[in-house]
């Protein structure tokens, strides 16, 4: 399948003005500003296929928002190229906006003083949505987002959760091919987050929209995206399946055993001496084995332990995605994961 979005060696520099101090400094700044160049995005390349839902994650200032602004046509890159369905966003911006929907979690795209329904009517006019398409879209939003409950309220009176639901609907009313979401669950409570995530899943499946999602909430990524791109200091650190990230050799699973009789950690280590396992003990009955999927399996460990001991209970936990990502930031990629880098 040919990609819908192609980002090729995208680089974006900001020229920052470094302010001088005091009144005199302020005047000097006006005449002869002191500039510093900050490379926000550094030779970033990736492609995204139609219908994909990709998580684009990174710490604050990693270059996420800059990438999104270039992809949505708001910013022109310093070098490199972006193509979305054959269009270059920042060169054909006005035509291009008809094919994309954008949600900035921290700012509404709606008109603050207008009733929600009036905002939608204006968007219908601006994006020239035929009446029948408009009606079916609104019915879809009413069913999945429940926005029909507050269609007649002005946007400024909505709660954050309600506003976000409206913003999602507003971004999709013209049936865009690509949806850009910048922190769509920021500030929402657990229930509202679940609503948004559920809606995004349905929107992808029903509308076939391609989604790029930036977020701090890795729960969003876990629930929505198979693929993640991790960016740090403007460079792509990882681009691949979330699952591979988790199964990588650097990320260890934890198999916790509750044994019927007291056992020492040394005894368990002896029983599994042929396996690359590290034991942690929590009392005489409870012991946890840390291991990597790439090196051994839970079954192998269990069979060694069960040969000598009686088991009461057990639990296998995946590494939390937060831990995985934190580890990547801290240590970079493990050798086995570099294959995933383009």
């Amino acid at each position: 399948m040919a990609p819908l979005i192609t980002v090729d060696r995208l680089t974006k520099d900001y020229r920052l003005t470094v302010r001088r101090e005091g009144v005199k400094g302020g005047i000097v700044d006006l005449v002869r500003p002191r500039k510093r160049i900050l490379r926000a995005v550094d030779e970033v390349s990736f492609t995204i296929d139609p219908g994909e839902m990709v998580g684009y994650i990174g710490a604050n200032g990693a270059g996420k928002s800059t990438t999104i602004k270039v992809l949505t046509g708001i910013l022109t890159p310093t070098s490199g190229e972006v193509r979305v369905g054959g269009l270059v966003p920042y060169r054909q911006r006005q035509s291009y906006t008809r094919h994309i929907g954008v949600v900035f979690g921290q700012r509404t795209q709606l008109w603050w003083d207008l009733a929600v329904v009036e905002s939608f009517r204006l968007l219908q006019r601006i994006f020239e949505v035929p009446e029948d398409r408009y009606r079916s879209q609104m019915a879809f939003f009413a069913e999945l987002l429940g926005i029909d409950e507050f269609l007649n309220q002005p946007v400024r009176k909505l709660s954050l959760g309600q506003r976000m639901r409206c913003d999602l609907a507003a971004a999709l009313v013209h049936e865009p091919r690509v949806l850009f979401l910048d922190e769509p669950t920021i500030g929402l409570d657990v229930v509202a987050k679940e609503n948004v995530r559920g809606f995004l899943r349905r929107a992808r499946d029903t509308l076939g929209v391609t989604v790029i999602l930036t977020t701090h909430d890795l729960g969003d990524i876990e629930q929505l995206c198979r693929r993640v791109i991790i960016i740090d200091h403007g460079k792509v650190l990882y681009d691949g399946l979330l699952e591979d990230l988790r199964r990588g050799p650097g990320h260890r699973l934890r198999l916790c055993l509750d044994l019927a009789e007291p056992v020492t950690a040394a005894a368990l280590a002896a029983a599994t001496r042929d396996l690359p396992v590290q034991w942690e003990s929590d009392g005489a009955h409870r012991h946890c084995a840390l291991f990597s999927r790439a090196e051994t399996t839970a079954a192998a460990i269990l069979s060694r332990v069960l040969a000598a001991h009686r088991l009461r209970d057990m639990a296998l936990t995946e590494p939390a995605i937060e831990d995985v990502v934190r580890r990547i930031y801290r240590e970079g990629l493990q050798p086995g994961q570099e294959a995933n880098l383009e």
Binding site: T76, G86, L87, Y90, T97, F104, Q109, W111, E118, I126
Partner: protein, 280 residues
């Protein structure tokens, strides 16, 4: 590579596109009126505040003319006419394009420009017409009242030609206002609002409500060629109340409006390019 090819948008000629954008502007305006009708009390409060402000300024004029019967050859009624006339384009500007006045704060600092750039409508058209300020209607009504009173007192007998000229001069003068503040808005792409020029320049408008001949040559030249507020009231109004020697300049108002607007739009375009290349 046979990827998905997105359409470049509806094919329209330049004029069709302009017509379509105009429809959007009308839709914005209709929406705005609807919301404002909800706040009738606000409207009345605005009206009262405006009446008081204009009343104070008129009282100043009356006191002034109590002492002197004429001001550098201008009678009280003539001054009143120019004053009333000045409120019409100002009201039009306030009604339609006041958004441009707070551009640096509302669009650049608050990030609303990004939202504007995500829509398939000319960014300037969106900024100018996205919201309206009803108090502009008060100024228009007051101005019309004052000007009408002065016209009756002066026993002006406007012919059809004068009315046609009037209908051209008022929007032209409003265009001058819009162009000046568009230019200031465009400058804020470079300086953000660190210069804070808009409020002091808005205050200069007050000087332009009187016959410019009451000021020194330097001020007259400044208001005619640098900050062209001579063209928002005094010069166009002289068509109706001025002597033949100043009157001919009135007809240059539309030309000045278009020129200043073209200049401001060029700066705006450059500023917008800078914004999209720097993101600040």
């Amino acid at each position: 590579m046979n990827g998905i090819q997105l359409a470049a948008g509806p094919q329209r000629t330049r004029w069709q596109r302009a017509g379509w954008q105009l429809q959007i502007i009308v839709a914005y305006f209709a929406q705005f009126l609807k919301t404002r009708l909800v706040y009738r009390v606000d409207f009345l409060v605005d009206l009262a505040a405006n009446l008081v402000a204009v009343g104070v300024q008129l009282a100043t004029l009356t006191v002034l003319f109590d002492k002197v019967t004429a001001l550098k050859g201008w009678s009280f009624e003539q001054v009143l006419f120019i004053y009333g006339f000045s409120l019409l384009p100002l009201g039009l500007f306030n009604l339609i394009s006041i958004n441009i006045y707070s551009f640096a704060e509302h669009y650049i600092a608050d990030g609303n420009l990004d939202r504007v750039l995500l829509r398939p409508v000319n960014p300037l058209a969106q900024v100018l017409f996205e919201s309206f300020n009803v108090s502009g209607l008060n100024e228009i009504m007051l101005g019309a009242g004052i000007m009408g009173y002065a016209a009756v007192a002066l026993e002006l007998r406007p012919g059809p030609w004068d009315i046609a000229v009037f209908a051209v001069l008022v929007p032209s003068a409003a265009l001058v206002y819009t162009a000046v503040f568009l230019g200031l808005a465009a400058v804020s792409f470079w300086f953000e609002d660190r210069l804070g020029l808009a409020p002091p320049i808005y205050n200069v408008i007050r000087f332009a409500r009187y016959p410019l001949t009451i000021y020194g040559r330097g001020v007259q030249a400044f208001l005619t060629f640098v900050l062209p507020f001579a063209w928002v009231a005094y010069l166009p109004a002289t068509w109706f109340v001025g002597g033949p020697d100043v009157r001919r300049w009135a007809m240059c108002t539309p030309l000045v409006g278009v020129l200043v607007m073209a200049l401001a739009y060029t700066v705006w375009r450059a500023g917008l390019r800078r914004y999209t290349s720097t993101g600040s």
